[in-house]
């Protein structure tokens, strides 16, 4: 049981004294491959006039995400929308990867740290891009200079909270699901899987990108 919780090293590339490739990275590759193949299939034959049902579904999905992020970020944050969209799709699929028999990549803290590092870099870059170097540095002393240490601490706190929230939720649901499967492998896990994998998985993906976009909005305001 305990070894299930470990992030396994799937294989080792025998160069530079062996580079370990974790299972999470391999699963991420699979997810990436699936996403790219799916989008290649779905995006074929896009029509401006008389779109088919498939295209309508795709467009409504993409415009739903786009409207959601543009609604938070506003017009000037539009350039960060594609990253947020691809992130929410990746986290959403990674969180439900357990349903398809994979280990969710987000159960590995390397992945959640990577995600939250990307988020904090994006947040700070957005502020830097918007205000320039001087304004960016000045923004740490806002609204009053006494907030300076807290604002600097936030640089570390925000990604940590993002990372730990996602990691904890996925790990928790993973453990619960493993236990349930251990007790009764048939039928019983279905409703729990619906909650822990789908509901919680999507909620966590939503929360992650929602907070990231809120922070970006705050940075570019």
């Amino acid at each position: 049981m305990a070894e299930e919780l470990e992030s396994k090293t799937l294989f080792t590339i025998p160069v530079f004294g062996g580079i370990p490739i974790a299972e999470s990275v391999a699963v991420t590759w699979v997810i990436m491959a699936v996403l790219v193949i799916l989008s290649l299939i779905l995006v074929r034959n896009l029509k401006v006039e008389n779109p088919g049902k498939k295209q309508l579904l795709l467009e409504s999905g993409v415009s739903f995400l786009q409207d959601f992020f543009v609604g938070i970020l506003g017009e000037e944050g539009k350039r960060y929308v594609p990253y947020l969209m691809s992130t929410v799709i990746f986290i959403g699929i990674a969180n439900i990867a357990g349903v398809f028999g994979f280990t969710p990549p987000t159960k590995d803290m390397n992945v959640t740290i990577a995600l939250s590092l990307m988020s904090i870099i994006l947040i700070e870059y957005a502020g830097f891009h918007k205000r320039g170097l001087k304004g960016f540095l000045k923004s740490f002393a806002e609204p009053v200079p006494i907030m300076l240490p807290i604002n600097i601490l936030e640089l570390a706190i925000r990604p940590t909270s993002l990372c730990m929230r996602l990691f904890g939720n996925v790990l928790g649901s993973f453990v619960v699901m493993k236990l349930l499967e251990f007790i009764c492998p048939a039928i019983l896990p279905i409703p729990f899987s619906l909650y822990f994998d789908f509901f919680d998985g999507f909620i966590q993906a939503y929360v992650f990108v929602f907070l990231t976009s809120l922070f970006i909005k705050e940075a570019i305001e």
Partner: protein, 166 residues
């Protein structure tokens, strides 16, 4: 359980690659199609609006033209009516004047004719009477007598019209 290693870097690379791939293969084409459609719809709306405006302007123009044409035709008709009436009035007046002139002339002619006839008749009657009286008396007893006789005759047989002539 918590092991941070080189896979962190791999994941970051994965995420960046996934972002670029998604942007290129999924969001890029779809958003492009949606934008193209939006532009097309906007263009169509603008075209429709323009056409509507044009149609409205044309309609106003036509209505104005129609109104002025109606006024003009009304004016023309009114003038024609006036002219016709004036002409008719003039004709009637002329005719009346002509008729009354003719009547007056006829009356005058008749009067002249009658006077002439009367005078003729008077002369005739006078000579006739004198002749008859001469025949009856057998002799002429002077002009005075003749005249008195004649007057007597006229008084008995003359026209009331002629009474003022004496």
């Amino acid at each position: 359980m918590i092991k941070i290693d080189i896979n962190l870097v791999f994941t970051i690379i994965n995420l960046l690659v996934l972002y670029l791939l998604m942007k290129k293969f999924l969001f890029g084409p779809i958003i492009k199609v949606m934008d193209v459609r939006k532009a097309m719809i906007d263009q169509q709306f603008a075209g429709a609006k323009e056409q509507e405006d044009q149609a409205k302007a044309l309609k106003e123009q036509y209505e104005g033209a129609l109104k002025s044409a109606r006024e003009e035709s009304f004016q023309i008709m009114e003038q024609a009516r006036k002219e016709a009436k004036a002409q008719a009035d003039k004709t009637v007046e002329d005719t009346q004047a002509k008729v009354s002139a003719m009547l007056a002339k006829a009356q005058e002619d008749i009067n002249t004719e009658r006077e002439n006839a009367m005078r003729q008749m008077k002369d005739d009657v006078a000579s006739l009477a004198m002749e008859a009286a001469g025949k009856i008396i057998g002799k002429n007893s002077g002009a005075d007598q003749d005249l008195s006789l004649y007057d007597q005759f006229i008084e008995k047989a003359g026209d009331p019209d002629d009474s003022d002539r004496r």
